[in-house]
Symmetry: C2
Subunit: 144 residues, 2 copies
DNA sequence: TCTGTCGTAACAATTAATGTTGCGACTGCG
DNA sequence: CGCAGTCGCAACATTAATTGTTACGACAGA
């Protein structure tokens, strides 16, 4: 379905900053995170910018600039991240309006919307159940 | 997230065929369905082709050709349709391998995969709960 | 003033879905 | 037998979203 790794990369960045701060550092740079995620620093800055708008991270400019967590990893859930970085709904409707002269064309969108709303609701509950601290714990639990 | 309406269009097509057959017709043509969904017949044929591979519909060729249901709408769930028409997973990993020399780079994919697997599981349960007969009922329940 | 990093715009590259055209294959009918 | 209507499928165009890249000004501390 989606060639969309935004949630994955955002979680990666947050886990990285969290671990780095646990090791006693003040801020992490987009360059460092980009190296770990094997991508471009601008991509990281863009994503972190969205997380900052959601109040999850803060950035500092000037010399010794970089990114830090605005809250504990324990208090951040994947739902917070999801809402910050994912724009649209999971499933889309027709890209052009179906034939309103047809019974099915008229009724299909409300019918499917009901289903999709329920699913989106469940998805949110699942994401809200996992904190970024959980993610970092699982990351560190992987044997090297 | 996804600009992907495959599930919606597939459900539309199945509901349309189901209703048309209830009205006493043998088969529906991709042209008719495309008109209702306001898209191109080839798009419908492609989708229905995937549904046929999954055993949900059958097609007839020659004169009086067209599509018919291979099973009752009651016995078809949105999960059947989803599995037939959605290729990939909901959330993607990094498009390039993260830095394996970094703890986070090494552990993030297994960690996120665990979460994503659970979500995919829940999504399937939700989809399996809705039959295409439910969808058609809801379609017809929409006031005109 | 110099240095390192963010902030952001602009644009290219990539990928997936969707739309379109064309044509051969099939099959019932006259 | 030939015709008509529709599927099957390949090839290509279009659209849209994400991701990657380059460039450069803004900022703040040394």
């Amino acid at each position: 379905m989606s060639a969309n790794s935004r949630l994955t990369i955002a979680a990666h960045a947050l886990a990285w900053i969290g671990l780095y701060q646990r090791q006693g550092h003040e801020v992490a740079t987009s360059e460092q995170i980009a190296t770990s995620a094997n991508t471009n620093p601008v991509v990281i800055r863009r994503l972190l910018g969205e997380l900052r708008r959601a109040g999850l991270v803060e950035s500092r400019r000037g010399v010794g600039a970089g990114w830090s967590l605005a809250r504990d990893l324990e208090s951040m859930t994947l739902l917070d991240v999801y809402e910050a970085v994912e724009p649209g709904p999971l499933f889309a409707m027709h890209r052009t309006t179906p034939d309103q002269a047809c019974v099915v064309g008229r009724g299909i969108q409300p019918a499917m919307q009901g289903v999709y709303d329920g699913i989106e609701q469940t998805l949110r509950q699942e994401l809200a159940r996992v904190t970024l601290a959980d993610v970092l714990r699982d990351v560190l639990a992987v044997p090297r």
